[in-house]
């Protein structure tokens, strides 16, 4: 599969490495040229030597998306540090480039839920943290520590 990841922070770069290791074609796009270094954390060779692609540019720029190979993408992951940016570029990938699988990271649970109901696949780390914390507290109460 061809996987395009926009936003190469901790999350984006980790997913990129994992997918490359699993044998997929991975292209990463980020505004910050320095984020290339984050892709190579823990790698024995350079990102490119291992077959990865890296493009500098913004996810809202059509030229950058196209240079990063959005036309061939089977999966599009929007994982920049901006919720609104992720939601907007994910919709561009869906509607303009017809990418079959589009996933957006959205930190705000309210926006994540509403857009999920509109047919956008969202991943909400905040929701996951809330659920885990609630479960941890309930478990603790159940063991008689409450």
């Amino acid at each position: 599969m061809f996987i395009l990841i926009v936003g190469c922070g901790r999350v984006g770069s980790s997913v990129a490495r994992a997918m490359l290791r699993e044998g997929h074609t991975v292209s990463a796009l980020d505004e910050d040229p320095e984020s290339h270094a984050r892709l190579e954390v823990g790698l024995e060779k350079s990102w490119e030597d291992l077959g990865g692609q890296f493009t500098v540019g913004a996810g809202l720029e059509a030229e950058a998306l196209e240079a990063a190979g959005i036309d061939q993408a089977d999966v599009f992951i929007a994982s920049t540090d901006g919720d609104n940016t992720n939601i907007i570029i994910a919709q561009i990938a869906q509607r303009r480039y017809d990418v079959p699988t589009v996933i957006a990271r959205v930190l705000d649970p309210l926006r994540a839920e509403w857009y999920a109901r509109q047919g956008l696949q969202t991943v909400c780390p905040t929701r996951v943290a809330i659920d885990m914390l609630e479960t941890a507290v309930r478990d603790s109460a159940g063991r008689g520590n409450g």
Binding site: L60, E61, A62, N84, I87, R96, R111
Partner: protein, 227 residues
């Protein structure tokens, strides 16, 4: 009308003030604390502090009963998201979005966010109008109607000066609608002969601009066969 304006920069602040003077009910939302404090000194309870891309901030501002939402922040993604949520989640009748980078306009269109306003585009149009070297001026986009109106100034090197309008082979989907000559406008007939200095208005299907530009430019011959 109840109008929510998002972004208290120069545009949002002045807009909110004007709308209040016209007796509209206005809430201006600003997410920068310092800017909010400044604007609040003048507009008082009409300003609200918060990030308007958070749904609860919009709800606290009463978006459910808003007649219009105007997003004029300096961030195009924020403006798109706020308008999309306003229209599709809260069913606000009228939205207006500011486009900061004209290259993002295609995304506003893709997401059906209109009308969208770009100051850069407006100034470019004005520039084209004030600087005649540009030759061809885009006057109006009737997006819904799929038509454009453009203005062309015929320079001395234009290929169509001295030609009868009836002899021009106008591209299909375009029509000359008026000629401005020596400060007066008239509707051309087939017998009108175009002169240097004429300003010609044409209505056309979108995308015909370039064809027309060539036809009326220095290398064009108005499509007249046989010279």
């Amino acid at each position: 009308m109840y109008i929510i304006v998002v972004g208290a920069g120069k545009v949002g602040w002045n807009l909110a003030r004007e709308l209040l003077e016209k007796d509209h009910e206005v809430t201006l939302i600003e997410n920068d604390r310092r800017r909010y404090m400044t604007v609040e000194q003048e507009l008082e309870h009409n300003v609200s502090y918060g990030d308007a891309s958070e749904l609860w901030v919009l709800e606290r501002a009463g978006i459910q009963r808003a007649d219009m939402v105007i997003a004029v922040t300096g961030d195009d993604e924020d403006n798109m998201l706020i308008c999309q949520v306003a229209r599709e989640k809260y069913l606000v009748d009228q939205i207006i979005a500011r486009v900061n980078n004209p290259r993002n306009r295609q995304h506003f269109d893709l997401l059906g966010i209109k009308p969208s306003v770009s100051a850069t585009d407006l100034i470019l149009r004005l520039l084209e109008h004030e600087v005649p070297e540009y030759g061809l001026v885009h006057l109006l986009d009737l997006q819904e109607e799929q038509l454009e109106i453009i203005e062309m100034l015929l320079g001395k090197d234009s290929g169509v000066t001295g030609r009868r309008v009836g002899d021009l082979h106008m591209p299909e989907g375009s029509l000359l609608i008026s000629v401005l000559r020596a400060g007066k406008g008239f509707v051309p007939t087939a017998d009108t002969v175009l002169e240097e200095g004429d300003e010609v208005l044409a209505v056309l299907d979108p995308g015909k601009e370039d064809e027309l530009k060539v036809l009326f430019g220095p290398d064009g011959d108005g499509g007249v066969t046989g010279g």
